[in-house]
Symmetry: C2
Subunit: 249 residues, 2 copies
C-alpha cells in the first residue's frame, strides 16, 4: 500500500508494511534534511540509525515496548551533539565552551529542526513516520545502549517505514486558537470553551473518558496520561542526564 | 522574483521582495503546519505574528537589530505554551501539573516541530524564511513586549517574505559525518579532519579567519561568535526566564 501524503493530510503512521528501506535511502533523506537551518551552520546533532533486530530488541523496553520500534524498517534517534563540534575545536587549537545549558538549548533546536525536516521529506516520498515521545524519559538508558559520549543527549526518536494503514486524521484545535496578532491575547473561559469544546464531542474521546472513569477529557490527561508526579520525576531525571552529559558545567 | 526551492536546494532567505503576505495566508500555512506531530495531541505552542511596523521597531533591538525583522513581511515568534492547555484543564475540573522542566522540554519539541513544518510549507509555496537565532538570548524582553503569560516562553523566531535573492547554498558536512549505524562511533582526529577539513578551504572562510586575526575557523567560533563567557551568561539568564515563567516549580 503506497500513498503520497502531502502537508495538509499527513498523519503519523504506526503500522508499517514489510517493504524495506535501506541505509542508503535513509542517508539520502538525511543528507537533504541537513539543508535545513542550523545555528551558525554548526550542525549540532547526530543521528543513530537502528535497523538490526537484536538492537531493536534492546531499544524497545527503553521506549515502553511501543510496537513501532520493532515493526518499523528503521528507528532513528536524533541526538543533541556538541561533542563532534567541540572535538573539531580542540583539533583546531580552539577552546570550546559549550558545556552549558544555553548550548544544549541551541543544539536541541538544531536537532529538532533536522528531525522534522527528515519527516517532511520522508512523507513526501510516500514513507510514514511516527514520533516516539519517550526519548527523554529514559535518556540514561538510551545513552548506555547507543554508547553516547559526553555533550550528546538523545532527544527525539522517529520510526520509519512504508504505511500499512491510512489512519483517520486526528483532530486539531482551530488555527485562531493558537495564533496571536501582534501580542499574546490571554485565554478566558469563553475562549477556552470555544477552542477545546469540540473535543468532548468526539466519540473516541467520550469512550476514553468513560473507560477511565473520568468526568472530562482533561482529567484523562492530568490524572492518567501526563501526571504531575511523573512530570516532576522525569524533570529531575532529565536534569541529572544533562549534568551527567556535561551540559551544566 | 519567484522561485520554488524544494528540499534539496532550500536556502535561508535574508532579503525579501515587497510582495505582501496577508495574515490569512500565514494562518493557512499555520493551519496546515498544525497537522505535524504533537505530544499527545496537546499542541503545546502559540505563535505571535508581528506585521505592524511599529511593533517591528520594538522587536528589532531584542534581536540585535538584525535587518530581517524590519524588512520581512512578517515575524513569527513561536512560543512554548502550557498556559492554554493548563487553562483548559482548570476549566474542565482537572488539576494541571505542567510547571516543570520536563513539561517545558515536551512543549519545546512541539514548538520547534510546528515551526519547522511552517518553514517547509512556506518554502513549498515559493516563500523564503530565515531563523533568527536570538530568541532565547533576550527572552525576558520578548516576553514583556509580546505580553506572554506564565507557562509560555518564546523559543524560535522566523522571518517570512518572498525572496529578493537567490543566495549560494551554504556548505554542510557530509552525511556520514553525523549519521551512526546501530551505535555512536566517537570521533578521532582523523575523522574530525575528514569531516571538517573542507571548511578551511572555502574562500569565504579564509577571509573570515584572516579578518578576525585567527588561525582557524574554529577559533572564530570559540573566540568571537559563540564564546564561553556569553554562553554561561545566556544559560543563567534563560534558566531565570524558565523559573520566572513557572517551569521550575
Amino acid at each position: 500500500m503506497m500513498k503520497y501524503f502531502n502537508f495538509p493530510d499527513r498523519r503519523s503512521i504506526r503500522k508499517y508494511s514489510d517493504r524495506a528501506i535501506s541505509i542508503e535511502e535513509i542517508n539520502e533523506i538525511l543528507e537533504i534534511a541537513s539543508r535545513a537551518s542550523t545555528t551558525g551552520n554548526m550542525q549540532l546533532y547526530s543521528v543513530v540509525v537502528t535497523q538490526d533486530s537484536k538492537r531493536k530488541e534492546l531499544l524497545s523496553p527503553l521506549h515502553f515496548n511501543q510496537p513501532m520500534i520493532k515493526t518499523s524498517q528503521a528507528v532513528l534517534t536524533f541526538c543533541v551533539d556538541f561533542n563532534r563540534f567541540s572535538k573539531w575545536c580542540e583539533y583546531s587549537d580552539a577552546t570550546p565552551g559549550y558545556n552549558n545549558f544555553h548550548s544544549f538549548i541551541s543544539a536541541a533546536l538544531d536537532t529538532t529542526i533536522i528531525a522534522q525536516q527528515f519527516c517532511a521529506i520522508a512523507e513526501s516520498k510516500g514513507m510514514g513516520i511516527c514520533y516516539i515521545g519517550t526519548t527523554t524519559y529514559n535518556a540514561a538508558g538510551i545513552i548506555d545502549l547507543l554508547n553516547l559520549p559526553k555533550l550528546t543527549v538523545p532527544l527525539i526518536t522517529i520510526t520509519l517505514g512504508y504505511p500499512a494503514e491510512i489512519p483517520e486524521l486526528t483532530d486539531r484545535i482551530a488555527v485562531n486558537g493558537f495564533v496571536h496578532r501582534e501580542e499574546y491575547c490571554d485565554y478566558d473561559n469563553e475562549m477556552i470553551s470555544n477552542i477545546y469544546g469540540y473535543k468532548e464531542e468526539i466519540e473516541d474521546n467520550k469512550h476514553y473518558i468513560a473507560e477511565n472513569n473520568k468526568q472530562s477529557l482533561a482529567q484523562v490527561f492530568t490524572d492518567i496520561r501526563y501526571k504531575k508526579e511523573d512530570n516532576i520525576r522525569l524533570s529531575n531525571e532529565f536534569v541529572k542526564v544533562l549534568k551527567q552529559q556535561g551540559f551544566f558545567e
